[in-house]
């Protein structure tokens, strides 16, 4: 948190992307979160990913609920559309917006309280429906904004700042997203941009419901010994199943990997996700074994990160509803009111 606006001066060699923008052009207002908050690092990763993908800021809609995490869309992509919705209700507003205008890139930003407590129902349904979006859950295990109460993702037995152990079972949102039908499910850590940035880029390229659970330490209320969402705990227990490289356009071989150690996944938009395997037996396209793997390792106290599951045959809500290719909000009266002859024809077909 700082009172000064970030100076507009930037490094003299700061590169420009294909649109002529620098990374700094994708920033938002100065963050008001606590110093050291993991959420700010996630914002930086989103900025980096969007800059690298040459995303036009006006083609992005950022939607969020309530919480420190849900405040962050103010701190990145300052020239994009934004909607700070009601607590736990981001998924329904995002679904509506996506139905009305399928042409935008939808970024849903939420917290563990927002998604796993008050918004759990909405969370489940937005995944079920396969809304085409990138859903980023900034998971700190507490309600940061309301001063650090345990959230539903806090591990059983993990201690609060005052040392009180959590008695309730945790909700693992990655497992839940898998169960609910999300077609891209990943987990990362705010302190590891090397893993997070390509993951966000991969999620943006995914057609359908893409979910990333990002463990994001809350400096003020959940970064103490006994917490399982602290910088130290995550660094000590991080079990990455794979690392991602995003290859745009024609694949160019940069590194040779021993046979069987890397897999390429081609996305709808033609980009290739190259998965470098860290866990030899991990298959990110096998949903059932992914669910098993996550549960097994969670029981060992490990934080499984990486691209956990991807379905590259995925479809999205518009395909499921068989909507027209033109965004609904671009349809004119002519298409929406085809006239009495068309109505008569429709009625006749129903008789």
């Amino acid at each position: 948190m700082t009172y000064l606006a970030k100076p507009r001066l930037h490094h003299p060699s700061l590169p420009h992307n294909a649109l002529g923008y620098t990374r700094r052009d994708y920033e938002g207002r100065i963050s008001t979160l606590c110093a050291g908050c993991g959420h700010d690092s996630i914002s930086a990763a989103i900025i980096q990913a969007c800059w690298e993908l040459d995303i036009e800021p006006h083609r992005v809609a950022k939607l969020s609920g309530i919480g420190c995490s849900s405040k962050t869309p103010d701190y990145f992509l300052g020239n994009s559309h934004g909607f700070n919705t009601v607590h736990g209700r981001m998924p329904s507003v995002l679904t509506g917006a996506n139905l009305a205008n399928r042409a935008l890139l939808y970024l849903g930003v939420s917290g563990d309280g927002d998604s796993a407590s008050i918004g759990l129902g909405q969370f489940a349904h937005v995944m079920r429906r396969g809304v085409n979006m990138v859903y980023i859950l900034e998971n700190n295990g507490v309600y940061g904004l309301t001063k650090g109460q345990f959230s539903a993702t806090a591990d059983k037995g993990s201690a609060s700042k005052k040392g009180v152990a959590n008695a309730d079972s945790p909700i693992d949102t990655a497992s839940l997203a898998l169960l609910m039908g999300a077609t891209f499910v990943a987990r990362s850590f705010s302190g590891d941009k090397g893993q997070l940035v390509p993951m966000i880029k991969a999620a943006i390229g995914h057609q359908g419901a893409a979910f990333i659970d990002v463990v994001s330490p809350c400096l003020a209320f959940n970064n103490h010994p006994g917490s399982t969402k602290s910088y130290d705990y995550v660094r000590d227990h991080n079990e990455a199943v794979n690392f991602l490289d995003i290859i745009e356009g024609r694949p160019e071989i940069t590194t040779d990997y021993a046979a069987g150690t890397s897999v390429d996944v081609v996305q709808h938009d033609g980009t290739i996700i190259r998965l470098r395997k860290a866990a030899a037996d991990y298959d990110a396209t096998d949903k059932v074994s992914a669910m098993n793997y996550i549960q097994k390792h969670h029981a060992l106290g490990e934080v499984v990160t990486g691209l956990l599951y991807i379905d590259n045959q995925s479809t999205d809500i518009h395909a499921n509803l068989n909507t027209v290719a033109t965004p609904l909000n671009a349809l004119t009266e002519k298409e929406l009111c085809p006239g009495s002859a068309a109505l008569a024809k429709l009625n006749a077909s129903l008789r």
């Binding site: 948190m1 009172y3 100076p7 060699s13 110093a35 050291g36 908050c37 690092s41 302190g191 910088y231």
Partner: protein, 608 residues
């Protein structure tokens, strides 16, 4: 890379680019902040202790600090015309607005220590020696062939750049400390001076001989051909008040610029500078060239003088050969004739400003003082002691012509050496600079310095109207910043002396500082060799002369690497750090001087 030793005084000193580049190591950002606070007299005194002639230097300094200034680098790719802070002209602001500072000057030392020192030449080098030593009780006698003290500052630098009152004032501060000045006395023999039994002799006689140009016609037309520096001093003394209508100035250095601008004011309507080299390679500072061109003086480059033409012993003009510059593989330049026919320029007078030399006709070669093959005295480069132990050199006399600020820097060093020598101390151990590193933290987002970053471009110094200034050699051209403009200019300074100090054991590697840093200075990464490490930082570290700040001891085994190059010293890293691993600390470095200038700087620093 090894962890950076920030206790080494040079490390943070180098980060203060301007101070590092200043030969006298003036604490620039310190005085700029004082100007911003309206503390002009304080700002003046900071300068006075370091560089002795703030009012003079604020108008004439060669300003090596400005090309070094970080502001020029950080404006690149950000503002239209990247420019350094107008450091030099802010110094003048301190001098112009300071009011009466006499009470702050050292008191006359009435208790003498019985040691007598002679200074030959009354330029800035000798005056600095006197200022540093007289307050210690030494008795100083300065001899100069000219009637008044000041050396070339008085006799060469023209009055339209440096008014006489400014010289009188600042030379006066020194002479009034009870320095004996014997003007109008040329020293003809070092032997005789040594025989007078001085405990030490300081030679600050400058580089007083202007180079001549021995080409056909030189002797025949001698009446209208002058050596630049001789002509300038004659102008300065009022012996010359007029010049012909058409004047050619030969040479591309600052002397040439002063000659042409002076000629323009003494009746020269058609004054040109003609130089052998290309425009870019000219020795004159860019601003001096601009100033001359601004006054309607063309600079004609790549013309080599061939001969003076004359009729009946009267100069009619000059012939030149056209050349272009060619560079060999070692980057060495040769001027190659273009083959075009020689070119004639008509003129009434020629001023030759093609260089300056040392000459010591008054030093007997059998006196025991060694000279090298270039005719310069053999000296210990740091102590400035000659091969006669009690004889020291400084200023232009030491290593050839430089400038005022170098003369001052030499003066300080020589004063320390003389003091050590006369106290039987070794001259090899130089006194360490005075250092202070103090946290600037006042509150969560409160610093005792102004960390907001200005986006302003460099402010332009106002000039007196050209119709007026071209009429008289005595009217000062530059007017100096008014208080408002000065304040705006101070805000461009980045406070490079407020250092980012890192404590690895406190860092939890949250990336907060990395993300907020507007200049991408900070990286947490695996360690490596410097050249390789420089390529894989958040932003590549392009300027190899700018150090990397490396710290190990992090929990993940990585290192923190900060490229100092374009850090804005905005303190956002420290504001964003949850654990206080970054702190902003003011690094104040004052060079050691001969006591008690040292004691005086110490009392000033209590206010730091």
């Amino acid at each position: 890379m090894h962890t950076t030793d920030i206790k080494n005084p040079d490390y943070f000193h180098k980060v203060v680019d301007c101070q590092w580049a200043c030969p006298a190591h003036t604490p620039v950002p310190e005085y700029i902040r004082m100007i911003a606070a309206g503390r002009y007299a304080d700002a003046y005194m900071v300068n006075w202790y370091s560089n002795v002639f703030p009012g003079i230097l604020g108008r004439t300094c060669d300003r090596p600090c400005e090309p070094a200034c970080r502001r020029g680098r950080v404006e690149e790719d950000n503002l239209e015309k990247p420019e350094p802070v107008a450091i030099c002209r802010l110094k003048r602001v301190a001098a112009d607005h300071k009011g009466d500072i006499s009470a702050r000057l050292p008191k006359i030392e009435t208790v003498k220590n019985g040691k007598r020192i002679a200074c030959i030449g009354g330029g800035p080098a000798s005056l600095t020696v006197a200022r540093d030593l007289v307050p210690l009780g030494y008795q100083l006698t300065i001899f100069d062939q000219d009637p008044k003290a000041g050396g070339f500052m008085r006799t060469q630098v023209p009055r339209f750049r440096l008014p006489e009152e400014v010289i009188d004032e600042e030379v006066g501060y020194i002479l009034d400390l009870d320095v004996e000045f014997i003007g109008g006395r040329r020293i003809d023999s070092l032997k005789a001076i040594l025989a007078e039994g001085y405990d030490a002799v300081f030679i600050g006689c400058g580089a007083p001989r202007g180079r001549d140009l021995e080409i056909p016609g030189r002797q025949e037309a001698a009446g209208q051909i002058h050596i630049g520096i001789d002509w300038l001093s004659s102008v300065s003394f009022g012996h010359i008040e007029k010049v012909g209508k058409r004047v050619i100035v030969l040479g591309g250095g600052n002397t040439a610029m002063d000659c042409c601008r002076s000629a323009r004011r003494l009746g020269g309507d058609d004054v040109k500078v003609i130089v052998r080299s290309g425009f870019e390679e000219m020795k004159a500072s860019p601003w001096e060239k601009e100033d001359a061109q601004h006054e309607g003086i063309p600079i004609i480059n790549c013309h080599v003088p061939k001969s003076f033409t004359h009729e009946n012993g009267k100069l009619t003009g000059m012939m030149f050969e056209k050349v272009h510059a060619k560079y060999d593989d070692n980057g060495r330049r040769t001027l190659v004739p273009t083959g075009e026919p020689d070119i004639f320029f008509g003129c009434d007078e020629v001023l030759i400003a093609v260089g300056q030399e040392n000459s010591f006709p008054w030093i007997e070669r059998d006196v025991g003082l060694e000279f090298d093959k270039w005719g310069l005295p053999v000296l210990n480069e740091t102590s400035l002691q000659s091969t006669i132990p009690q004889v020291f050199f400084g200023g232009d006399a030491a290593f050839g012509p430089k400038n005022i600020i170098w003369a001052v820097a030499h003066g300080h060093e020589a004063a320390i050496s003389i003091d050590q020598f006369l106290n039987g101390e070794s001259l090899d151990t130089r006194p360490a600079p005075h250092l202070n590193l103090i946290s600037q933290k006042m509150g969560i987002h409160e610093w005792s310095y102004d960390n907001d970053i200005s986006n302003e471009s460099r402010n332009i110094v106002p000039w007196a109207a050209a119709e007026k200034t071209l009429k008289s050699i005595k009217i000062e051209v530059e007017l100096g910043f008014d208080a408002q403009t000065a304040l705006k200019e101070t805000q461009r300074c980045l406070n490079c002396d407020v250092q980012t100090v890192f404590k690895a054991p406190l860092c939890i590697e949250c990336d907060g500082c990395v993300d907020i840093c507007p200049m991408d200075c900070i990286t947490f990464t695996e360690n490596g060799e410097e050249a390789e490490l420089r390529t894989r930082l958040t932003a590549p570290a392009l300027v190899a002369s700018q150090d990397l700040y490396v710290a190990d001891g992090l929990r993940t085994g990585r290192v923190m690497v900060k490229d100092e190059d374009v850090c804005l010293h905005c303190g956002l890293c420290a504001e964003r750090c949850p654990t206080g691993a970054w702190d902003m600390q003011k690094f104040l470095l004052d060079m050691a001087h001969a006591e008690p200038a040292r004691r005086l700087t110490n009392s000033r620093r209590n206010a730091a």
